[in-house]
Symmetry: C2
Subunit: 526 residues, 2 copies
Amino acid sequence: MTQGKGPYFINLKVTFVMSKVASFISLGIISLDRNTGTPLHRQIYERLYEAIISGQLKPGTRLPSVRALAQELGISRNTAAKAYAQLLAEGYLESKVGSGTCVTSILPDDLLYSHPRPNGRAPSATQPEQFETRPCLSDRGQAIAQIPFLEHSPTQAFSPGLPAVDAFPFKLWEKLLVKCWRELPFNRLGYPNAKGHRSLREAVTGYLRAARGVRCTPEQIIITNGAQQAISLAVNVLLNPGDDAWVENPSYNGIKAALSNAQANIVPVPVDGEGFVVDEALARTSQARLAYISPSHQYPLGVTMSLARRLQLLQWAQESDGWILEDDYDSEYRYSGYPLAALQGLDKAGRVIYMGTFSKVLFPALRLGYMVVPPALIEPFRAARAHADRGASLLEQAVVARFITEGHFARHIRRMRTLYLQRQRTLVEAARVHLRGLLQVEPHDAGLHLIGWLPQGADDAQVSRRLAGHGIDMPPLSSYAIRPLARAGLVMGYTSMPEHKIIIGVKQMSPILAECLAGQQMQLSA
Amino acid sequence: MTQGKGPYFINLKVTFVMSKVASFISLGIISLDRNTGTPLHRQIYERLYEAIISGQLKPGTRLPSVRALAQELGISRNTAAKAYAQLLAEGYLESKVGSGTCVTSILPDDLLYSHPRPNGRAPSATQPEQFETRPCLSDRGQAIAQIPFLEHSPTQAFSPGLPAVDAFPFKLWEKLLVKCWRELPFNRLGYPNAKGHRSLREAVTGYLRAARGVRCTPEQIIITNGAQQAISLAVNVLLNPGDDAWVENPSYNGIKAALSNAQANIVPVPVDGEGFVVDEALARTSQARLAYISPSHQYPLGVTMSLARRLQLLQWAQESDGWILEDDYDSEYRYSGYPLAALQGLDKAGRVIYMGTFSKVLFPALRLGYMVVPPALIEPFRAARAHADRGASLLEQAVVARFITEGHFARHIRRMRTLYLQRQRTLVEAARVHLRGLLQVEPHDAGLHLIGWLPQGADDAQVSRRLAGHGIDMPPLSSYAIRPLARAGLVMGYTSMPEHKIIIGVKQMSPILAECLAGQQMQLSA
């Protein structure tokens, strides 16, 4: 490093500046903008920082004195001194007696950006910098990146699992937001209770006991950021790598992601008219540690698990110290009779982890759900929840609690039941008229979606891709499968669409389906 | 199972009902409450369900006819029929030609609750049921339950890491809540973007580029539910079980929880006046895959990592394909000069994962933070975030974005800087006057806490416990340590306390410290 005097930047080897110059301005390093809100000393700091980091100003380079800089830029000495002081404090400049202020010599050449930057500016604000990074992910990180993740949106037709966001009580919610925000004492703005806001845990307890036959107290409730977090927590707390877990086939894809992440073995179990086939499960592995089931309304097939099967599975859990993860994701929506009581209510050995979500009853962007854990698991789950992310945002928990206790929740569910039944009838009728021989759509007494059955042997993934090209989001049944399924079909959401759009959508898909199935030489047997 | 006729409940072996009786009412099974909102048929359903599940009504037990039940309870036949229909649908009752309606015979005795319940009611709504559950947690579940989790609260004195929630702009926030809620188009209420709301990612990008020298685009930002989730995601995506990870000693406890959960090896690295000692780190293991550091303001010691050390660590990362997790948790609060630029800005190889939180600048109950990942990691982190919990709640993301872009954020930070500096001065001065010889409290130019140094060899855990008994929450430095530290101390938050409370608190702790240290035969060397 040359420490000699002479013109500033004598060591500068900046390829795009051919002449050796003595001023920042002619170097293009500093151009001040007096019209932005950024103070001048900050602008100088930023430009010099960039120039040093980018290699434009090399280690050892001598800088103008404070006085010279001030003069050159037409600023006060104080402003110039402030900028230097910051860079000195951060270690990018060093001050040596007799040789003034220099770029720190410890900056090794090869650690700095060697490629010249057009104007000493930071990289573009819209295009990420490109590095030749070897990602070196963990096995878990690699596995989870392989799991498909579908982002369903109400802007697409027939997206499954979405409530009628168009019929949400916006005004009422706004009132509750304001009310709850005003009511929150400021000392509640610290870290929240990791298990969830007390008022919400109480409200959920009341709801689950009355409406779902769940046996619980507020102590057993853990509020989660939606159902997926409940699944992740349960799998993480309960399963070791290599443990067997029974999963319904087909099933919600989120469980596969969680099990892959935990490096557990997924053991697919067939579903028949009575739900999860326990005998088949036991035949496939006697070592299972957990069963993931959706007994009220199997996802996505819609079957209800029979009492006999429920009892058989509970018996397995009790005898083998196994766990049952009961996903009760949309049981609020039953269009005839009452929702069936939860399996959890039958558990006399504390082996069931029950979970539900507000995504289907309120709206998914709220990101709130809950789980009910047996007493022996309260502490482990509280710890896992706390260490995962410290708990859920407080305000919206308070809003949901009020929404429930003031009776709006029950009213909203009743209104939605009527609306969804109407929308379902419209879909079934439109399909009967316009999709005859192409897609078989039967009415169903529960849930937020129907299965549109394709002819035996059809390639539902291909059909689904073709429809997606027309803005119709009906995932193939095969995308929920772990092992190949006997029948092909499409999962059709109807609850987030007004009736006229359902009819338009069905009419639109008719020629697409016809062409696609003709290409596959398939036809529904009448 | 007896199928014979005769009085109802002929098979009933309910120990606490000594007489064989023929009515639900005298059995105490059904007592209707006409004043609640619950419909009568629902009440009947619930009581019968409870009685069956609890074993009060045994399998095979014959029930009164609909007509008899209606008469007995003084209700309409329709109401009685509805209750039975639901239980028949759920499989708890069965209807046999010639023998009326009976409790399903498939309910095995030993699966039902064998212990009598005082009045056939569900278990208490406040006390969880007790099972003899063998918890059988996973190794991860067990490990994480061992990690201490401190819930700091603004209601305790000197709780560390809490902003001045008393000085939060409540009215403004309320306005933004309403504004953002009204602006959200209803079709945004579906599942949110897993990486975060676009407007917030853009606002964070602008802030980090200008204020922290972070090089990034909105594509690289991932909004998290606070810093802890960022840590969990990073550790999960990047580390395999058994991988070595360098952690500053002492350090934030959340990293230990995340690493335990990932079953990684924690390799503690000492911190000196220049921060993380890279040479020591390399001497302890040459196999590290990740370094967790807080270079701007080491937690909890407060040291700033020198430029030389930063470059040395970056060199390691580049040469070994290692990862640096930079936790920039409270760098907004620098009371002299500018906050030091982030280490991420020096990374030319895409090896730094940068993270920050809104807990310290806004409020912890918001549960929002962010991470900046190198381009090669965008997709793996997006997948991990999506599969962890589908993304953060939308509304409050929109509010924070507006808070930033409308300039409130920068203003709030400026206001808080002045306030915190004042509060810190009050603490230092009060300690100088009242804690002389007991606790050494020096001013510091950054952060939300100070270290109160105890005499060499003192037992800080004991002192901390003693203070906790008086509502003073100053965790011992040793509770942040992985290996024993050279000095004992207490971590003192001061930012969430008004000045008069700081003075009261300091006066209050003086005799407690004196007594405690006398007991330990310790004294500060003047």
